[in-house]
Symmetry: C2
Subunit: 442 residues, 2 copies
Amino acid sequence: MNKLEEYLNAHERSEIHPSDIAKILKQLDDAEFSAAIKLVPKDLIGDVALALPDRYFDDIVENLSVDELKHAVSELESDDQVDFMHELEELDENIASEVFDTLDEEDRKEIIKLQTYEEEEAGAYMQLEIFTAYKNEIVHDVIRRFAELRKSKVIENIQNLFIVSSDNRLLYTVGLDDLLVFDFKKTLLENIEQSEDSFEPKKAEDRENIKDVVHYFEEYDLSVMPIVNAYGILLGRITSDDIYDIINEHATEQMYHLAGVDDDAEEYDEIFRAGKKRASWLGINLFTAIFASMVIGLFADTLESMVALAVLMPIVASMGGNAGTQSLTVVVRQLALGGISKGDAMRIIKKEILISLMNGLIFAVVMGIVAAIWFNINMLGVVIALSMVINLLMAGFFGAAIPLFLKKIDIDPAIGSTVILTTVTDVVGFFSFLALATYILL
Amino acid sequence: MNKLEEYLNAHERSEIHPSDIAKILKQLDDAEFSAAIKLVPKDLIGDVALALPDRYFDDIVENLSVDELKHAVSELESDDQVDFMHELEELDENIASEVFDTLDEEDRKEIIKLQTYEEEEAGAYMQLEIFTAYKNEIVHDVIRRFAELRKSKVIENIQNLFIVSSDNRLLYTVGLDDLLVFDFKKTLLENIEQSEDSFEPKKAEDRENIKDVVHYFEEYDLSVMPIVNAYGILLGRITSDDIYDIINEHATEQMYHLAGVDDDAEEYDEIFRAGKKRASWLGINLFTAIFASMVIGLFADTLESMVALAVLMPIVASMGGNAGTQSLTVVVRQLALGGISKGDAMRIIKKEILISLMNGLIFAVVMGIVAAIWFNINMLGVVIALSMVINLLMAGFFGAAIPLFLKKIDIDPAIGSTVILTTVTDVVGFFSFLALATYILL
């Protein structure tokens, strides 16, 4: 008996969770996986597939018929249906369209509706299953209707009741904790008017940037947010579990961009796709590295007459690159988290320059002494110290200024800023060191 | 009339949100800020202080008396009280202890209790305000009690009822959506027994690592989680808004560690503190850069006889560093997100080696041709191409192996891995290039 069988036998149906199944599946080898996947309750298989890393998706699809796939999709909530169909299309368009054609008309409509949104739009992340009522309904009736919807599993994980007008515009959000203390015999509106609390909904528009919506969740400590269109018509909701995923994805995207990696390409197990994307960044880096080398080439005569310069030169560039990366990372991250507001640019640049000046001076002294002793040439120490101060200062300035500038012109400050920065620190490092050496030592 | 006054006049008391006040305060200059802070409703000032970036904290405290501070703290939820007192202690221990002494005994006890937890323990993030009931209570009575607690603002943002035994052990978690469809005339236990749903609580222990707790939230799509001690006694709860903050903090920590920056030191506006921490990483980098330079020093004769080598040498190191950082970043991030399970190490290393080999070959050819033409020495092209392949291969291997190894021996894979990696890619880059040049060209 395999581990999954053990788990399924040990738990009642209501206690079985797709994430637990996914955890067990991840530990199995290929043969066990194929056998185990057939044991997963059919109504959970969609959730299990989405809980597993993307690279398992084809293994799951391989082991299922179109009919089973259709069943898996129909059991999912609308936002998850879209994710599942998206994965399926990436894997095999024919199977995807076969599955799509067998779905209920309502599911098909919902999927098409959600697929119209761009990846950065809030609408792309909402689910359409919501609990709504009209303001003149008696609370007792609303609760009875809720019980029925819940029993039939049409809606799950409900925390709010959305009160809409007859043309479906969102009027109020009532938490279930509010609803529970309402007078059940009165209408919703009567209760709302008698209450001291505010039922003004915190809402977002479907075309708003999802990053702004995440900020609303963070600022207002929300666990659910209704999504409306430009006319205020209620469309769906975004829940806290989506927000966890989005926060993680955005942080991943940012880290990857700083390192010259594409987050979409890395998701799958296709080495060629990830490698190609990485190659494009390495290509840019090669280009800038050659440019920096041409700067070195300007001083070929100097290098020929003093080989110590060739030995020490990478230290200046390396220290500048590292100090600059420190500044860059802090500024990029704080820009993303909203820790830097408009008009803050000068404060940030000043801070980074001060830090880099402080550290530049410290390491200039240390490295100056080391170089002077190592090669027994005092003025070599002075040269490397001076160029270290210059390069770290530039590193601090550009480490702060590059992302601030990119943000200002509405470009993602994480993309490309590293390569611009290291070009600066390499070029300034090599040039200042070799030029000073030419001038002072020769 | 300043902007804050406008906002406060335009909104009813129940609609005023601390985050909105914080947003307005951030736009004011120092003089306006002092005037505005006095307008903030006193019961909101604690929340406003916590909603602002840390560097505003002293401006707020300066403008408040001990009595006002006490009032601000007493209005906060327990987890926020601890945060506020922590900030206050950092700022001024005397004021902090004065404020602490004026607090109610219950508040003092709760703060002391929560302060016993380490930063990485789940207990440090919980709030103690929860809604509990015994299993034999009639639902109707429970709801009446809830209404009273809510009215008196003892508990807020409630989504769950926790059912405990007489000795306070957590038995069941009942969502308010469940409670709403219960038979109000029966006891909680009768309702639970008649339901098909599972009320088995998803809980975490107070001493568990908060990172694991965050993973539970993500995996099980939770918006609230009860926290118990080792004996199962219910202590408090963690809510989704805490999880947003923690996910963001952990991602920040990771990015900062990769760049050699300390997240705690950067939080404040003290340039010296942040600079000192950054200096310690730069110091390590200087040490390793000197080591790499000593490797170059081994080939001083070779460099002297062919200055082209000094010009090209940084390209090999730079490409290795960048390719390695790509691998490193992906592996560190996937380790944190749980995308890499145990026994996955070989798959990851293989993948990274393949990608780096693929890109190594491409850029070896490109750079080989460039170098051969640039300096008109064909064998120089062969030398740089060979060393490029070697260094990118090493970069891929170590970029994957370093974080996997650090994780294996229970060290945070983000800390220090960058500096180890760049040491490898610098040393291998310089050594392979100069050794091959010595052997092939001279």
